[in-house]
Symmetry: D2
Subunit: 498 residues, 4 copies
């Protein structure tokens, strides 16, 4: 069973992420946590399943490992949280109920313990999901697999006298204070900076506006009441769903009076994502936002070798700005920023250079490594606001070259993907002989004018994706698409023959 | 000491409405409640202070009277609530902590018991205040005086074994459901009606948007995150503080697409007040809103003699619409709607007619008598939305004639007010011989073209106020002002001579 | 599946009454409650399963039915309560968390709604269980069957937007006050009556001592700290497990000083059962306790035809005292007191007589009908204390004749029970021709000297039970046992032949 | 105003320790805490009152200092806690509500922050009190004086936007686990050791029995239900109030069966004090308990110079056992153990010797320095139980010589005390020329046979106290008393002359 996707477990609360599943996952997590804490399966190793009796005896006198549970504002959250609690408590781990939180606040609360976040992020209101954290980071694949295996096999309750009684905790104030303190290291005092925040009725509502107000901003919110029906707009922040915010910001600016906003912010349902809207109501390209932050973090780092980790679909403008600031960029497949960070660090142990990851991000999702190793849209809001207060949004964008960007999909059956990609590994370099080629995550071609093409198979749908960014993007993507179609066609034909 | 003003106790939380005062008031309320419950001072009678021992003994075995405490979102609320709780619990009444609530929700929760609301309504964030309720209604003057007397004298704690331990209650869901059920009796299904609600970071945030969404509206909120700093706008909803809402609604409409709003709603900090904004972003005159509701409630009543209670400063357009619907209007001084309701009912007991109060309101503050006897801006939002869904806002306004309205103040020392008003009781009728005269609350002149003038002394400042509504309002008010100045002048001169 | 036994669902928390089962039962209860509330299956009728669409639509706008959840002090309680909560909330009923409560307090809280009690009563600490209540009464067999059927079939979650968010409630104080008020109607003021209460670390701890102290007793507790490990003694109060209490009470009395106790009280884990210990440390026979209460309730009733309902294994001394007080006794099978009460009431509707059930009880379990229709050991403690304060325990026992009582078991395979009992229906009357015979619940023989024999099959074990009470109990039971063995033997032989 | 006595603030909740006082103290503590945290008055220094603006500005961005509030089970606790909370929160410190706790558990929770305990310890139920903690230790005299001064002067609320919102915390489980872990270092596994604990309806109920059960004991409790009326016995554990416990333990032992108890434990209302009862139901002398612990802690220490701190009224048997174990005893005046600990440490800084305080205690009150610097009766229970499990209670007592002990009081007006003591400084040595004399805290005479006499003025009553311990205690105390009376008489005469 493939329980975990790229964003944890996610789906319909009545059909997939049901209380029954939450209970089973809770029990499985409890077992996995116990095994890890008693040293049975260490960092990333697979579960060997055999436990040493002597160790178990020692473990019995140890305090139970702690797991903190939070949920976003979805209607199905309380029942799922109760089921998760039942699974964990009957699995013998200590449970702390944190109630409603943004995902990054739960991640923060999971430092030094474990965390479970019940959220479907930007999915529709009928969905829900489960994200697992250890010490501030999402579970890696091995840890997820350890849970998956136990869910499949079924996990029995702990002995009755090891069951625990959940306690309530209130962790939001500490998180908000920590964000304020962290952001205070960058940019300038907000000093009345006027910002509009569209919380989309999600969990940013009790977080981002409070943080910005504490930092000195003059904040107006849209959809700042938490409501699991997401009545104000879709929970995913897109140019379309942010139409109200964009009009609100743009029109305020049109009036020419003091009511103009410096910029606008849109979050998703659990506040890990952020979208920035400029004073004209236009969405700032997500890669441009990445480039701003990447440049600043690189520039402020005192490491000899500052590194920014990002994903193959992220624009070359990031590389440009990071290089300009004296750093370098490493790419890792989508949804695997943590692995990228770990790889950079691993590699650095073999050198004498002071290599440090200063920022890790995919579009809309930012890991502020100096603050913590989770995706944090609230911290992004705070840091960006302070940077804007310092140099203005236009000033931040000015050095960034935004080339046209496009994405197309080529039909490709799942079972033909591997062969097609293998073929493209040579076909694309052949078709674009001037390009530098990188085949670590799909095939990425970089050209001397900073144009690039990326071809990679979709992880969830029967497509091969083609991304390109170039001043002549239409021609570039058309050319690449032809190569891809040819490769897929010949493979698919071959497949059909079988 | 004049503890209670027209809106309960209100002022700076650090200088006037301090925890010390809250503790003292809590103790005094406890004593007053005990006396009332044991029959020592019945409805409105003053405290006679002598208690029958036998009765006291009986009272000891009775369960303690219950007081539910809530607060709005102000920063000073939790400490004041704790102090109030300490005063009540050490005074021997059972205390229920309801946490943050809109004032009308606390009033609803006070049915069958007592209630204390900590709110300064639309005052600035540094203020706070105390409102007392019994069985859904605010304390009347006698009840307030009973508390005032005890605060002045100091009230000892109850015997140690009568102190109580506060409990938490969650009363909001029941209130919201009740509002939905009540509003469902009027107008039409909202069916996607698009409404913008500016909660002003106040306590309407968890109430009005939820109610409207439950009723089927498509709701977008401004400043829907509760924040006791009121960062989004001033807590008092005025055309100026509602500028963002007005622009937001108007601009959405300008686009001509589906995103237009049917109307907008602005609340004050504790959701007793409501302001309506039309699709053009213009504030609908508060008297026009009263007239809409008054007409509808009158029309839907099956009483033989439906009565609307309002205040002298409310426009004649209310009278017009109520008369058109087959009812009549009674006026009572500002801040005394409850006394007006009581007076109408008292008078009705002496007749055989089926007289019924169907609505009572002053500008921005509506008592939906069929729902409960408290000012309720959330219920107003729900009922108005259903009326708009039925006939459109323009349709509701159409029959209402909005004449120009003005208000001026004439300087008048406090100690000269009584003589001045006495003199005006004859001077004004003399000056306006065509007018019908009513001297129940100040001097009110009504003309055959529905124009009117009201002259009354301010309750809190050294002025005599002159209000007028007329197609020729400037001339009318100028003429009236001259009469008032003459009267005040001659009185003041006389006063000076003394 | 036979989910419900005579005392609800009960068994090992790790193997039988697991969180998984609690979740499934919660979901099933939610569905059953919804159907009942929308009129699909009325009182006791079986589930017809077909729902009228129009009704469902109406139901959607109705507030969700309420279910209050409590648990006893067992270690496995919090996790099971969370799972139950998850099942109920995702089944679309409103959930109120009452925390730890005695079972009778949960029953009290279930008036006007539904209730779920997580308790295994007097079972060992590794067990737990589920009892369901509606409006103060345990579910009857039909209602249990409706849940059973749904658990077997599996019940889907409600639509996502019907899921609910549990709320906390604090219902214990109201219950304690109600017990005090009720008991106050009987006997005399406690006025320093010295009582020892052994709470057995169970849920009587926050109830019985408080009630007795409020009523004026001087209370000392044993094992009054709630601890789900039941460290002080077994959770079932027997002469053996109450050894500490008995010695404590007896020794205090021996000293001859003021420290003597009027009597002692022992409760089981969830305070539905009560055992009385006299000042000599001897357990008062459970039937004698029943007789005391039965007589008093009969005597104090102003009904023309007061009825006490009890079970076949209860002693004739009850009948003697009830008759002496002017009432009559009706018997119903063990565990079915509610059916007995209902049957008496049903029969009474066909007569003109003022028939009223004044008390219903089986040994150790008392339903104080004037207080509520649940088994209530706390109310028993309060009423008995007030009766003792009035006439002394010896005075209460004095009129009651305690004849020797014995119980023996005869081996009998489950599948031979029916035939054996059929045969005994004639064999026993033949063997005891002087006796009056009643075959409503097993075969009961009553003799003119108040001796009696009861023969009935065990509901849970492979035995036929023989009970007898007589001044010559050894002879009587030996004689009856012989008849039973013969009957069982011949049946078993016949069975073997097959 | 002398607000603080030797045990904090204590008195009638309706007349002295009222909610009004709690609010004032809370505000004063908040101010004192703020000043201390911002360096205005450092450890023990008096308040200089002048604050540096720049520092204050910095402080504003610092997180507010935290104060955790708990209360014992007294009826007046909830209201006083609410008032304290109101004072602290409006004084701008962060407040954590810990609910009901034993005093040592609050002390434990105060580590790294501040703590307020609302308790009157062993006083009658109508009393209550306030104890203040910083980082695990009670406020010293300077810190108390800083609060006292502010209460007298009145302390204004903090600026409105510095008020805080209290949060709930659950700190008991952590404390219980810590006690178990600590005690595990001493003695042997309890392994079914049978212990009777009389909690006296106080706050030891949720602590000591749980800890002992976790450690493996077989625990039976008396008065284990928390009840602020202290119905079971007086809240102060004395041989008289422990009569039930003593009889219970003694009688169980008499039976000769397995039900005998190894020993019994009695606590006061807030579990800082402990009394040990032996298997015969006799109270073990409080100094003997001290000697057992003192010896063990000394013996187990690896310090070169282990020191036990105690008070002048403590017996010479402590010195004997500590010396036998290789350590030494230092004495400090009653109620000042912390000062004694600090003095020993201060002195040690000037030497090269590894001096360490291993235990500090006055009769019934034990500071387990290795665990924490507060008086902790729960830790005492755990450690003593493990020592008993190791060697038996008789084994622990065996090496301790218990000489007869007596205490008498000689009338002495307060204003004559100083002169009388001065005179006794020479008169007593003159009368007992063989004794070693120590005049640090009163006049203490030690004889070569380990007899001793202590003469000191009472701190609260018009007496001079004479304590003596000797095989010939009657003669010794009579002789000393004569000397004291003579000295007091001559002084009093002199005083009268004036």
């Amino acid at each position: 069973m493939e329980l975990f996707g790229t964003a944890g477990i996610r789906g319909s609360a009545t059909e997939r992420v049901t209380p029954e599943l939450a209970l089973a996952v809770g029990r499985a997590v409890a077992a996995a946590v116990h095994d890890r804490e008693s040293g049975i399966d260490g960092g990333g190793e697979s579960d060997r399943g055999d436990s040493d009796d002597a160790e178990n005896t020692d473990a019995a006198t140890e305090p139970a490992p702690e797991v903190v549970i939070a949920r976003d504002g979805r209607v199905t959250g309380p029942a799922l949280a109760a089921a998760m609690e039942a699974g964990l408590a009957s699995g013998g781990v200590a449970v702390e109920r944190a109630g409603q939180l943004p995902t990054p606040a739960l991640a923060y609360a999971s430092r030094g313990r474990y965390g479970v976040m019940l959220t479907a992020s930007h999915n529709p209101p009928a969905d829900n999901g489960i994200k697992l954290f250890r010490d501030g980071s999402e579970f890696d694949r091995d840890a997820e697999r350890a849970v998956e295996t136990r869910v499949e096999a079924g996990t029995s309750p702990a002995a009755w006298n090891e069951w625990t009684a959940p306690e309530r905790v209130d962790t939001l104030p500490g998180y908000l204070a920590a964000v304020c303190e962290y952001a205070g290291e960058f940019g300038a005092d907000l000093d009345g900076l006027r910002v509009a925040v569209d919380c989309g009725n999600g969990m940013s509502a009790p977080a981002t506006p409070t943080v910005l107000r504490e930092l000195g901003a003059d904040v107006v919110t849209l959809n700042g009441n938490v409501d699991g029906h997401f009545p104000g707009r879709g929970s995913k922040p897109t140019p379309e769903t942010l139409a109200d915010l964009r009009a609100f910001v743009a029109d305020a600016d049109d009036d020419g009076d003091d009511a103009g906003f410096a910029f606008g912010i849109g979050h998703d349902g659990d506040a890990d994502r952020i979208v920035i809207v400029d004073a004209d109501g236009e969405v700032v390209h997500e890669d441009t936002v990445l480039a701003m932050l990447a440049e600043r973090y690189t520039r402020e780092s005192d490491a000899a070798d500052p590194v920014v980790v990002t994903t193959p679909n992220a624009s070359g403008r990031i590389d440009e700005r990071v290089r300009a600031a004296g750093g370098r960029v490493e790419r890792v497949r989508l949804g695997a920023l943590h692995e990228g960070i770990a790889a950079v660090r691993e590699a650095a142990t073999e050198t004498a250079v002071d290599t440090r990851v200063v920022f890790a991000a995919e579009p809309w999702k930012h890991i502020h490594v100096g603050f913590g190793e989770w995706i944090d849209g609230v911290a992004s809001a705070a840091v960006i606001a302070r940077l804007v207060a310092d140099g203005g949004l236009d000033g931040l964008r000015e050095p960034i070259t935004e080339r046209p960007y496009r994405k197309v999909s080529v039909d490709c059956p799942d079972d033909a993907k591997a062969d097609a990609m293998a073929r493209l590994g040579t076909a694309l370099p052949d078709a674009f002989p001037d390009a530098d080629v990188d085949t670590d995550h799909g095939v990425r071609l970089e050209f001397s004018d900073a144009s690039w093409v990326l071809v990679r198979p979709s992880g969830t749908e029967p497509y091969v994706r083609v991304y390109a960014e170039s001043d002549a993007v239409d021609e570039l993507i058309a050319e690449a698409k032809t190569v891809v179609e040819t490769a897929v066609g010949s493979v698919a034909d071959a497949t059909d023959v079988d």
